[in-house]
């Protein structure tokens, strides 16, 4: 029951959301267990930018009803650091095809075939040129199987996210598309009037898949007002909401997008159980990504994959 996604062979339908699982750190914490039974069928890196970023000042987290606001600020080692330090440590992971207990014909071996975990590198540029440089680098590194474009980056002229405007989005993707044969996944922003039009623009410009939702723009004020003046809790001012609180919003957007485009859709947002994942698949997604739920339970994705089988 392995799955094909953009020409890649996956052990099952559950992958991680970018920025919600650091396989390098997890390898240090959990050791070889992680390599032998990687919970995700593909591994999506956190967002890599051209230059290194320290991330936002703390606090970076706020717990919301049924969810989490984060204002992490895309800390990363920059493209060069990622390629030289992280990439070599991101191979050798295998994901077990989940056993289907009710299928007596499948031998245990066949049911538990271990599959290499493809690597998706998520990148964000602040200009189309930066996106090109990032994609070129990913293209030339064999170990990278697919590229996810994080388009929740402000458009310098309008201040809005590039991904929120179908025209700007299409133009950017059209610039990048000719530079690689590798699958291009466009990670849409949900902070838009019309995710389906953005997805259609991405598809028209050559995207091989779209993924959604990214986090909803959100904010919290500090509970104790320093000097009596209200101030944002998060070091970054505003942040992004994820987790169960956004699940029904995500499902609506995934459904609208899947109805509009032909390319495969990676559905995410608040998925915590197999039943939530099944909703995403029923709404038209090909793969499901798990983000915030992994924080509560690092085996959440593996559990979901098993229950979906």
């Amino acid at each position: 029951m392995s799955v094909t996604f953009c020409g890649l062979s996956l052990a099952h339908r559950v992958i991680n959301g970018s920025g919600t699982f650091d396989a390098v750190a997890a390898r240090t914490v959990f050791g070889e267990q992680l390599e032998r039974s990687f919970p995700f069928a593909a591994y999506v890196s956190k967002t890599i930018t051209l230059r290194a970023r320290p991330g936002n000042p703390p606090p970076r987290l706020w717990e919301a009803p049924g969810g989490l606001i984060n204002s992490i600020g895309l800390p990363n080692k920059g493209l060069a650091g990622y390629l030289s330090e992280d990439l070599p440590r991101l191979s050798g992971f295998v994901a077990a095809e989940p056993a289907r207990p009710d299928d007596p014909k499948a031998s245990a071996a066949a049911r538990e075939r271990a599959l290499r975990v493809p690597l998706v590198t998520n990148v964000m540029g602040s200009t189309a040129d930066e996106f090109c440089t990032l994609v070129d680098a990913c293209d030339s590194h064999e170990q990278i199987d697919a590229i996810e474009l994080n388009v929740s980056c402000p458009n310098v002229s309008t201040g809005l996210d590039i991904g929120a405007d179908p025209t700007a989005l299409g133009q950017m993707i059209a610039r990048v598309r000719p530079r690689t044969q590798k699958p291009l996944i466009v990670k849409l922003t949900p902070n838009t009037a019309d995710a389906a039009s953005c997805a259609a623009a991405a598809q028209a410009a050559g995207a091989d898949a779209v993924s959604l939702i990214n986090t909803l723009r959100a904010m919290a004020l500090a509970p104790a007002r320093a000097n009596g003046r209200p101030s944002p809790w998060l070091g970054g001012g505003t942040g992004g909401l994820s987790g169960p609180a956004v699940r029904t919003v995500a499902l609506a957007q995934v459904c609208a997008v899947a109805e509009r485009v032909e390319v495969p859709v990676v559905g995410m947002g608040g998925v915590e159980t197999a039943s939530h994942a099944r909703d995403m698949l029923d709404a038209g997604a090909t793969l499901v990504a798990v983000g915030t739920a992994s924080f509560r339970d690092p085996q959440a994705a593996a559990r979901i994959a098993r229950e979906l089988a």
């Binding site: 650091d22 240090t28 050791g31 267990q33 717990e63 915030t292 992994s294 924080f295």
Partner: protein
């Protein structure tokens, strides 16, 4: 170094006892992994985690492993919000999820230095297991807000006590006791855990006295295993450290200053 089990474990509460204003949560953990002193676990009640103030908690919460007995792990809890409240109300037989032990714990004292353990409030928790694990006799200095919290010191042997309001022990800050100790004999290594202001005091004092310090920090955490990048504290010289994987025990010298969010409940 041994690795953390790659799955939450469902454990049963053996007892949940008041310890002054704190609770001592004793969890059945026979056969569970052995923590290093200073490591922590991410805990969440198995039932009804959620539905408290502001429809929280949602994420698990980090707690220092305070003691490890053959059959049990012990945690010291202070009720400061919906997550700790839910854990404080668990009774024997109820279940909780535990992921851990996590993080980098305390290292033994360097160069034959004597250990000084400095704790503030619920921050005394990791010092208890540290005292159990040290081969030498250590000085133990603990500070509390008031006498209601002093019973927490029962986790430690031979502790000198300070209270902010003078209702028990020395009237003043525990850092004043530390300052005396260091003046008497600076060939020491300081192990500290407590509120941010206390940790910052200890950090600055170690820097001035040129004494090595190991600070067990706290930070808002979502995951505890390096996944979310939420638990950042500023590193001396720029950039950030993740408290959950680079710490929670960090060298005093690695830190620029202890951020207001990076300490235990006062």
């Amino acid at each position: 170094m041994s690795f953390t089990p790659f799955a939450r474990r469902l454990l049963t509460v053996a007892a949940n006892e008041p310890l002054g204003a704190y609770r001592l949560l004793r969890v059945n953990d026979a056969g569970g992994p052995e923590p290093q002193a200073g490591q922590f676990a991410m805990l969440a009640a198995a039932q009804r985690w959620g539905g408290g103030d502001d429809e929280r908690p949602y994420l698990p919460r980090a707690f220092s492993i305070a003691r490890r007995r053959e059959d049990e792990s012990h945690f010291l809890l202070e009720d400061v919000g919906p997550g700790t409240r839910r854990l404080c109300e668990l009774s024997a037989g109820e279940e909780l999820w535990s992921l851990g032990p996590l993080g980098r714990g305390f290292a033994p004292p360097r160069d034959g230095r004597r250990a000084i353990l400095v704790g503030g409030g619920a921050g005394i928790a990791p010092l208890a297991i540290l005292q159990d694990s040290l081969s030498q006799q250590a000085s133990v200095l603990v500070g509390f807000r008031d006498a209601d919290r002093v019973p927490g010191a029962g986790l430690l042997r031979d502790a000198a006590i300070a209270t902010d309001d003078g209702s028990a022990g020395y009237h003043g800050r525990v850092t004043e006791l530390l300052s005396e100790e260091l003046a008497n004999d600076p060939h020491a290594e300081v192990y500290a855990c407590g509120p941010a202001a206390m940790l910052e005091g200890v950090r600055a004092m170690c820097a001035r006295a040129d004494v090595p310090g190991q600070l067990a920090l706290e930070a808002p955490m979502a995951c505890g295993f390096g996944a979310c990048y939420g638990c950042a504290v500023e590193r001396r010289g720029g950039g950030y450290l993740r408290v959950c994987v680079d710490g929670p025990v960090l060298e005093a010298g690695e830190l620029a200053a202890v951020d207001a969010y990076a300490g235990a409940p006062a």
